[in-house]
């Protein structure tokens, strides 16, 4: 299925009882099949943008696409793996399909394929508690990929991992990404990570929230984690950091 473009048009949003609106006349476009990283100060509203794009929140003004209209083609990866402790790894990965009423046999095949992609076939029947943090995050990625998403929203998915595991997860994530190429929105605090993974880094700030700067990342793919030490990447990182 084709990737879904994301568009914020003249969006206004305020939390109840907040003194000032978070968004007023906010605009941002992410072409289909591209990965956009959103960086900005803590609490500036990056996660709110993700939830608006996914339709978990509704704008009070303006329009957000795809929003809730993309149900079934949408996946989200959270900062915590967010697995259900009482379900096996396989049942966690199959959850999106189960909720959509996909028959058991078809589900089993899709789950096996998704687990294969993150190399976790061996622990399919284990409970999440038996896995390491990195393995749990791989299960979360497999769950996001099990239904071939057209839009993937990620809220600091690698932030809770140790540095070594994180480096490996970047490689895995990019390998998954290359197959299917959904549109991606990635919220992160790590500018290195943003530049390494994204096609474009959007720096956000101010209140109401606005786009402070956009930095296009035209480094060739796939980008290995060791690329982080390359001067070209370092220059882009400094360019982004200058706006933070």
């Amino acid at each position: 299925m084709d990737a879904l473009p994301v568009a914020f048009e003249e969006v206004g949003f305020a939390w109840p009882a907040a003194p000032a609106p978070l968004l007023r006349g906010f605009g941002l476009r992410c072409p289909a099949g591209t990965l956009t990283a959103l960086v900005g100060p803590s609490g500036c509203g990056k996660s709110t943008l993700l939830r608006l794009a996914a339709g978990l929140l509704l704008p009070q003004e303006g329009r957000v696409a795809p929003g809730a209209s993309a149900r079934g083609g949408l996946a989200m990866v959270f900062q915590q793996p967010n697995l259900l402790a009482w379900r096996t790894v396989a049942d966690n990965v199959g959850l999106p399909l189960e909720l959509r009423g996909v028959p058991v046999a078809a589900r089993r095949d899709a789950v096996a394929e998704a687990l294969g992609r993150v190399e976790l076939e061996d622990v399919a029947q284990a409970l999440p508690a038996a896995l390491s943090g990195g393995m749990r995050m791989r299960v979360a990625l497999a769950r996001a990929w099990v239904q071939a998403p057209r839009l993937l929203v990620m809220d600091e998915p690698f932030a809770a991992l140790d540095a070594l595991t994180r480096g490996r997860m970047y490689d895995r994530f990019q390998a998954l990404w290359e197959q299917g190429r959904p549109t991606g929105l990635l919220v992160t605090h790590d500018v290195d990570e943003a530049v390494l993974l994204a096609d474009r880094v959007v720096v956000l700030g101010g209140r109401p929230l606005g786009v402070v700067a956009e930095v296009a990342v035209d480094l060739p793919r796939p980008r290995s984690a060791s690329l982080r030490h390359e001067p070209a990447l370092g220059a882009l990182v400094r360019q982004v950091e200058a706006h933070l």
Partner: protein, 258 residues
Amino acid sequence: MIPDVSRHPRLPAALTALALLLVWALVAVRTSPLLLPGPLAVLRAAWSARQALAEATLHTGLAAGAGLVLATGLGLVGAVAFHLSRTLELALYPYALLLQTLPIVAVAPLLVVWLDYGTPVAVASAALVSFFPVLTAGHLGLRAATVEQVELFSLYGASTAQELLLLRLPAGLPTLFAGLRAAGGLAVIGAVVGEFVGSNGVPRSLGYQVLYAARTAEPALSFAAIGCAAALSLGLFVVVRLGERRLIGRWHAAGGAA
């Protein structure tokens, strides 16, 4: 030498029991057996009335168990209803709270008026006192899922029924079981109170035995019957704990420990 408590964690409790028995026996020697029978007298009374006590424990156990099952069913239905309708919750929860403040001793005679003498009074009384802990624990448990888990279900377009059955109920089981453990002990108290008031001697329940022994000036038998009631509470606690371990022990730490 002082034994290492961390290696024998049950030792302090066993020593306390021994000390209490000793104090009891010493005080009993200096007191009239009509006021305080000694531990041996209680054991003798329990042995000679073993048949009657066993039957009474069974009757009271069945009444408490039935009351607990009834309370669990009604409490869960109530918790789910409150979860699905905020209006219903606002309309009924304060009165559910009121139910907890009712002195069961005062209500039990009314139960006799409505249900006549016999086991139903004990079952209703047990259900009445154990309903509230199940309702609150169920209600709290249905809100135990994390915001992100709820978002996940909403993102994947889950129906209300799917969210309830696949997320809220399993996530709420640990909290529900904590409530059930408290409710188990209360159910035995409720059943015995119901039997005090609502038993005419058929069947011969524990509540009836305690009263009968007091009226016939057999305090040792009273003590024995009270001991049976305590053992029953402990038994229900163990049953709930076993159910908890079986259902959630694999994935929930508190459900797996001791």
